[in-house]
């Protein structure tokens, strides 16, 4: 089978994700790699709905819904409980959106990282509060339209650098990935599964309604984010430096990525050049 992906499914059909949702696809394959010995901790995010309404569930692994700000803290509790039950082999995965990670959940996240809690924290970043109808989060990139940034997010703000924040905590494992680049994605989840300690995976996860793209283009557009250097695929090395795991396979200008999405409609041509420079500099710093 393709990339040795198991045919076992831990995500059930009939879940409540929008068509073409990157977050549902990412979960499907994350769980395929992590396997049935996994417990998922889920704060408020799109996935709170995707997971299915009571008394149904979209996952065939244990799943705990928790309040918005508490993913990392609840996951800590689950992990410690497993330790005391002698179930150390079970993977605990906190699965949060960008709001629950970059914003309201950041404190608990920092605390868990500082304590070196032994679990995997995955942020599926779709770059806005999509579940509540596309409001700006601190993960929303500069220039992006949301319902609370009707003219596009100010260029002075841009996207919070969660990677640097996490890097400063020196986690056991720190990577970016996207299901649009599956081999890298699968390899990183496999590596994360083997590690012990606090692990963080930052996923770029396309949202067709929020990005204003056709559902069938969601993965192609996400690949443009990688190919343009807007979302570099990186990994923290032993020295604490972030390094590219994949060079952009088919490099394209940032404009190609932005112009493929309706949410960047208000970005003017003259905004592109400084944006491109920032992206290039950042990409270069990972080489």
């Amino acid at each position: 089978m393709l990339w040795n992906v198991t045919t076992a499914e831990y995500l059930n059909s009939g879940h409540m994700a929008c068509p073409g949702c990157g977050a549902s696809l990412s979960m499907r394959h994350a769980l395929k790699v992590l396997g049935e010995e996994t417990i998922v901790v889920l704060p408020a995010c799109c996935w709170s709905i995707i997971a299915g309404g009571f008394p149904t569930t979209a996952l065939s692994v244990p799943l705990l819904h928790v309040p918005f700000a508490t993913a990392a803290a609840c996951a800590s509790g689950v992990r410690r409980a497993l330790l005391s039950r002698g179930r150390e082999e079970v993977t605990v995965m906190a699965w949060a959106g960008d709001g629950g990670t970059f914003d309201i959940g950041l404190q608990a996240l920092s605390g868990a990282a500082e304590r070196r809690e032994d679990f995997l924290y995955v942020c599926y970043d779709n770059e806005a509060y999509m579940n509540t109808g596309i409001q700006q989060s601190s993960a929303t990139p500069a220039g992006a339209w949301t319902t609370t940034t009707p003219a596009g997010k100010e260029f002075a703000y841009g996207k919070k650098d969660i990677l640097e924040i996490l890097r400063a905590h020196r986690p056991a494992y720190l990577v970016t990935a996207t299901i649009a680049c599956p081999e890298d994605f699968l390899a990183k989840f496999a590596a994360a599964r083997k590690r012990r300690g606090f692990r963080f995976i930052h996923l770029l996860s396309p949202c067709p309604p929020g990005w204003k793209i056709d559902s069938r283009d969601s993965l192609a557009v996400t690949r443009l984010a990688v190919d343009s250097g807007v979302f570099p695929l990186v990994e923290m090395d032993d020295g604490g430096r972030l390094r590219l795991t994949c060079e952009p396979a088919h490099p394209v200008p940032v404009a190609d990525y932005l112009r493929a999405q309706g949410r960047f409609r208000t970005v003017r041509d003259e905004d592109l050049e400084p944006l491109q420079r920032r992206v290039d500099e950042r990409l270069e710093s990972f080489r």
Binding site: A51, F54, P62, A73, S76, V78, S84, V90, A108
Partner: protein, 391 residues
């Protein structure tokens, strides 16, 4: 009218401890697998002592030293969901910060015990005894037990685990900040074997287990939500019975008898004084003096605030002239919180006594027996329609 002079049963150790340390010993005897807490005055001694117990191996638990109260209770939420017994403790602002998660833990119907050292909420800053913190949380779906002494705090923790695991309703055990937590007094530490018999190892049901996967707390449509909440409310009604039985069994095994509403000198009392927490001791002294002066006053000590023991209270109030409710928490614009509770409980009662609302102390304001005596003696002058604030 004095509080119980505990008969010394076998297999107890008599000790002299701070209220906080008494809590820690209670927790140790219940063998939680996970403890998670964040320090806040006046709860700090509890977690300091628990930390030492964990370090010394007396309490083989995972201690998660989190970065906030929200995370403290959230870590417990995770731990209990994953099938173990857990514990946390907090106070005041910390409890307020937990507010959202308190609802979640209760709605998830997780068996969890926490101790709250009652303290005022700012602004302005104040670290002293006040029940505004826990009484603000009375609608979160937790069972609330208030204790008078260090012994009650210790015993309360053990009883709370029995109750919470029987009902799947979380239990909050209160002791007053400083007056309860920082006072050193004699008590009995039960023998661990005796506690193990009373509180067997936790057997989780419907927890996060890869061998039997399930989902907890999924989004719920209005109809189902309504049904679940109805279930929660029913569980709270069952709590009276469960608590009675648990208290009774505890009394049989440990020699100390508790009740949701405890009384002293009520048989012939025309005037009742309703009190909670450590304040009650001082009230006992005041009522003793009054009775010696011929004032027919009796004590109602409220141990259980949620669920509110309304039928017991109605029964106890029948035929009395007046009841004075001593409050250490106010609902601004509505008076003392316990007074409102009692009034609601007595609503429609044919021969209800006059209910006097007294805001006796806030933010640690000292209460002497003389204060209580004066309030009782002058009760005739008070209008039951007004809240009384001491001069």
């Amino acid at each position: 009218m004095t509080s119980q002079d505990p008969v010394t049963p076998a297999r107890h150790v008599r000790e002299m401890l701070l209220g906080s340390d008494a809590v820690a010993h209670g927790v140790r005897l219940c063998r939680p697998a996970v403890v998670s807490a964040y320090p806040i005055t006046p709860q700090t001694h509890i977690i300091e002592t628990l930390s030492e117990m964990v370090d010394r191996g007396e309490l083989p638990a995972e201690f998660i030293k989190v970065e906030s109260e929200m995370s403290a209770i959230a870590a417990c939420l995770g731990a209990v969901s994953a099938g173990v017994r857990a514990f946390t403790a907090t106070s005041s602002q910390g409890l307020a910060m937990m507010h959202e998660i308190l609802h979640w833990v209760a709605g998830a119907r997780l068996p969890l015990v926490m101790v709250n050292a009652n303290r005022a909420l700012g602004a302005p800053w104040n670290i002293w005894a006040d029940q505004s913190d826990s009484l603000s949380q009375r609608d979160t779906g937790w069972l609330q037990l208030y204790g008078e002494t260090a012994q009650e705090a210790l015993d309360g923790v053990i009883i709370a685990y029995r109750v919470t695991e029987a009902l799947r309703v979380p239990v909050m055990v209160m002791l007053d900040g400083f007056i309860g937590s920082h006072t050193m007094e004699p008590l009995f530490i039960p023998d661990p074997g005796l506690v193990d018999d009373y509180l067997p190892p936790y057997t989780p049901v419907d927890y996060l287990d890869p061998d039997n996967p399930l989902t907890l707390c999924a989004a719920t449509a209005p109809d189902s939500f309504y049904e679940l909440k109805k279930g929660h409310a029913r569980a709270m009604e069952r709590a009276f019975d469960v608590l009675d039985k648990t208290f009774a069994e505890f009394g049989d095994r440990f020699g100390r008898r508790y009740a949701a509403v405890e009384t002293a000198g009520t048989d012939d009392a025309e005037i009742l004084v309703l009190s909670t927490g450590a304040l009650t001791g001082t009230v006992r002294v005041a009522l003793d003096r009054l009775r010696r002066q011929g004032v027919p006053a009796g004590l109602l000590k409220l141990r259980l605030v949620r669920p509110f023991p309304r039928w017991q209270l109605r029964h106890l109030l029948t035929g009395r002239r007046r009841v004075i409710v001593l409050n250490r928490a106010v609902s601004y614009g509505a008076g003392g919180i316990l007074t409102q509770e009692l009034r609601a409980a007595c609503c429609g009662m044919a021969d209800a006594p006059a209910i006097h609302d007294v805001i006796v102390s806030l933010g640690g304001k000292e209460v002497y027996p003389e204060t209580i005596e004066e309030i009782v003696v002058r009760a005739d002058e008070l209008s039951p329609d007004e809240s009384v604030w001491r001069p």
